[in-house]
């Protein structure tokens, strides 16, 4: 029997902490008073939900790229499984971020119009980023030899991870956008109430924690499958 790759004791402890943590964040997100701003009104609370989705995706991209790097270094298929699962759950959080952003903008700046999808650069760049990750999953399914697949996919995944900060943060900031931080505006620090930051930063940690729970569960399941069937793609 191989050594367990996931430390179960640590997993259970962290999982329970995260569940309690996110519960507190949810309570604070709805119960604390926030300054009322025209157009935004209560939807300013979406800062605690929509924005952490992107932080979570970014964290997932880092985790995935780290394990892809280790695939190239060691050739270990377990690292390949980790890279794949982190990329999948990360892309899923990206889709959630897109959907929540669509709903948020529709009932704030797009009220009275039929616009659900506008020319917002961040929306476009993020969709492009999700397509780049879509290509990663397609590329994997096109290759049969596990060793070859792990190496080629790792190289592509490192490319995909490198484009992420540019498409999510650098390019959208140069263009006109609904998002704060566009065209040299302050992104966050000067325009956000201190009380909201008190909930926002813990919310980021909480959602990254939820990613971590799901990702660890998937790694455990996929590893079991791999040990039983020698199939690393699941």
């Amino acid at each position: 029997m191989a050594e367990p790759v996931v430390n179960l004791k640590r997993y259970l402890l962290t999982r329970n902490l995260i569940i309690g943590w996110v519960t507190c964040v949810l309570l604070a997100a709805f119960l604390l008073n926030i300054p009322k701003i025209n157009i935004l009104e209560h939807t300013a609370r979406n800062l605690y939900f929509h924005v952490p989705m992107w932080f979570t995706m970014m964290a997932a991209v880092f985790v995935s790229a780290y394990h892809s790097f280790k695939v190239l270094k060691t050739g270990d298929l377990v690292e390949d499984i980790r890279a794949l699962q982190a990329a999948r759950v990360g892309a899923f959080f990206g889709v959630l971020g897109l959907l929540t952003g669509i709903v948020w903008s529709k009932f704030t700046w797009y009220v009275g119009t039929d616009i659900w999808w506008n020319m917002d650069p961040r929306q476009y760049m993020v969709s492009l980023q999700l397509l780049i990750y879509g290509a990663y999953f397609v590329l994997r399914s096109a290759l049969d030899d596990p060793r070859k697949r792990s190496r080629i996919a790792a190289v592509y995944n490192l490319f995909a991870a490198t484009t992420t900060p540019f498409l999510l943060y650098v390019i959208p900031r140069q263009m006109e956008s609904l998002h704060p931080g566009a065209e040299g505006n302050p992104a966050f620090s000067e325009i956000t109430d201190p009380l909201m930051r008190l909930v926002f930063y813990p919310a980021i940690i909480g959602f990254i924690g939820i990613f971590w729970i799901v990702y660890t569960q998937r790694v455990r399941i996929s590893l079991l499958k791999y040990r039983v069937t020698q199939d690393s793609e699941m």
Partner: protein, 93 residues
């Protein structure tokens, strides 16, 4: 003299209210909708748009449920592979 105090307090009240209008939903600088609101917008914009936050939280909750169900499916898949490999004691009799 009393009326002077009342007037003063009224003036401060008014000053306070002009300060707060910038944060009010009827802020004069705000965009006025070009169309009449659709039914869905009427529902979503009620109570200072709190239902928009509810919709966003429900989307995320639905996403977490999807992740849970998919993990369940994966687990079932592995369970089947393991069960296939466990020899049935009755076969050996």
């Amino acid at each position: 003299m009393n009326s002077q105090i009342i007037q003063d307090s009224l003036a401060t009240d008014q000053a306070a209210s002009t300060v707060s209008t910038a944060f009010d939903s009827l802020w004069a600088g705000g965009d006025i909708p070009t169309q009449s609101l659709s039914r869905m917008e009427q529902v979503m914009l009620a109570d200072d748009k709190i239902f928009v936050v509810l919709a966003v939280v429900l989307i995320i909750w639905a996403g977490i449920v999807v992740l849970l169900l998919r993990n369940d499916k994966r687990l079932r898949d592995v369970e089947r592979s393991v069960e296939e490999r466990i020899p049935d004691p009755e076969d050996e009799l």
